[in-house]
Amino acid sequence: MNTTPTVPAPPAEPAGPPPSAKGTATRPGDKIFLGLSRGSGILLLTLMAAIAAFLTYRAYIAISENEANFLTSFEWNPQGEPVEFGIAILVYGTIVSSIIAMVIAVPIAVGIALFVSHYAPRRLAAPLAYVIDLLAAVPSIVYGLWGALVLVPYLGGMNKWLDQYLGWTYIFDKTGTGPARNLFTVGILLAVMILPVITNVTREVFLQSPKMHEEAALALGATRWEVIRMSVLPFGRSGIISASMLGLGRALGETMAVATVLSPSFLFSGHLLDPGGGTFAQNIAAKFNEADEFGRDALIASGLVLFVMTLLVNGAARLIIARRKEYSGANA
């Protein structure tokens, strides 16, 4: 049901040597467990290395034949003469649609999570949390169909409105009259899709915020909102960041829903409401079946870039969290 490519787990740090048992008797249970856990760790690293090696090898074949600049070209013509393909339009489409999704989804998700964890009466909170869980269980092709059949026609009017009143911002200037099969619609659809993930993770974090810090704020005469601002949000900050990154990972890699809604094209347009554009995952899904061996290598090369992008996003999230560690609630 989930076509999201596995978000590569950051390579596990090589586990430090377990407390050496030299000189003391080792029990068989310890040995077996050590073997199992070490084996799992090694298996994960091997898998990651294998995927990276496969992607790099096939990508190398494709890129070495490429006549255009792989990173900056707006063409995608690996089977043509001359061979020219580049990912610029895919980078643009993927990043822009994900940014739109994050801008919409993160504030709403944090709001829902706060409502469920700190405002809603308990009778309402539990069913609400359950409904949000259900949202996460909807298959992405269903989201895609909903997007194509409901969202696209309904957003036509909104597009017109945005064009009319916010057209001067350039990005909301609509140059054609085509249907709303554009990056903006994709961003909204992705926002709906990543909302449950972000909501659930942040809600869990908010529920764990220590009672004693909330009481400290209350006793100073803080209102409910001030309690949240002084003790819940700071405690949950790294949780919000990692939840957002989880959502971003899904948005970057989402395939079926995007492929169903977008009318792909390799013509660049900075106007978000113009139909067209494409994302990495959507492009691979759309082109893979009709591609020959070399065409597939070219697609794999673009997949490698997505892989690296996701790794960078995860790394950045970790850096942000680590930098705030001294102030985080964890050492309270």
Binding site: M212, H213, E215, A216, L218, A219, L220, T223, S328, G329
Partner: protein, 258 residues
């Protein structure tokens, strides 16, 4: 500055369970009043009714009156948030905000109450930290997180945070029970200084502490587990520890039960 507390006919509930029953007492301004009694007798619950923190607990409910000078804290037009700004509280476990620096911790309550100029804020933070006997230890690292201090320092930081907003009353819920003896001594000395300016109510399990720091002592007890806690007597500390008027008090302080 400091105000008198006058409690009459106060009962507190958790859902349908009556935790304390019909308590009446007077707490004099600029004095230290200690609450002692066995675990579960409701002294902490009673303390939390004095700044309307009890009703924060799900199911928490209060009947009766708490007068702060002429104002009933449970009057229908009284905002609990405003009550907590006049009646400060220090908790059992030190709870400085872990995401804030030492400076911001002390300034936290002030920033809730309004905007201050940086210079004024600096002055109040310094005064409050001095008031909590912490200034000399932290003046060179005001921008470091409060969670990096020792337990005793953290508790004094919490006291500084509470007194920075100049409350009328300072409630302390076993403020030393998580601290070592030296830190405890520092807090007890501090309580002696603070009572010049504030009305202080302190819950403690340590009877020597009650005897050392308080002017008046109230003894709470409950008939049996599950029954509501009651105020047995309140009197001058000296009298409670030498010649109490109720037998149960004498039994408790001499260690015959509890």
């Amino acid at each position: 500055m400091a105000k008198r507390i006058d409690v009459s006919g106060l009962s507190a509930f958790y859902g349908s369970h009556r935790a304390i029953d019909d308590i009446s007492m007077t707490v004099e301004p600029r004095s230290v009043t200690a609450f002692i009694g066995p675990s579960g007798c409701g002294k902490s619950t009673f303390l939390r009714t004095l700044n309307r923190m009890h009703e924060v607990t799900p199911g928490g409910r209060v009947e009766g009156k708490v007068m702060l000078d002429d104002e009933n804290l449970y009057g229908s037009s009284v905002d609990p948030v405003a009550v907590r700004r006049t009646v400060g509280m220090v908790f059992q476990r030190p709870n400085p905000f872990p995401t804030m620096s030492i400076y911001d911790n002390v300034a936290a309550g002030l920033r809730l109450n309004g905007s201050y100029k940086k210079r004024d804020l600096d002055g109040i933070v310094e005064k409050s930290l001095q008031g909590a006997n912490l200034w000399n230890e932290v003046k060179d690292r005001l921008n470091k997180p409060g969670s990096g201090l020792s337990g005793g320092q953290q508790q004094r930081l919490c006291i500084a945070r509470a007194i920075a907003v100049e409350p009328q009353v300072l409630l302390m819920d076993e403020p030393c029970s998580a601290l070592d003896p030296i830190s405890t001594l520092a807090i007890e000395d501090l309580i002696g200084d603070l009572k010049e300016r504030f009305t202080i109510v302190i819950v403690t399990h340590n009877m020597q502490q009650a005897a050392r720091v308080s002017d008046r002592t109230a003894f709470f007890n409950l008939e049996a587990v599950g029954k509501p806690g009651k105020l047995i007597e309140i009197d001058e500390t000296e009298r409670i520890f030498s010649n109490p008027s109720v037998q149960a008090t004498e039994d408790y302080i001499s260690g015959r039960f509890g």
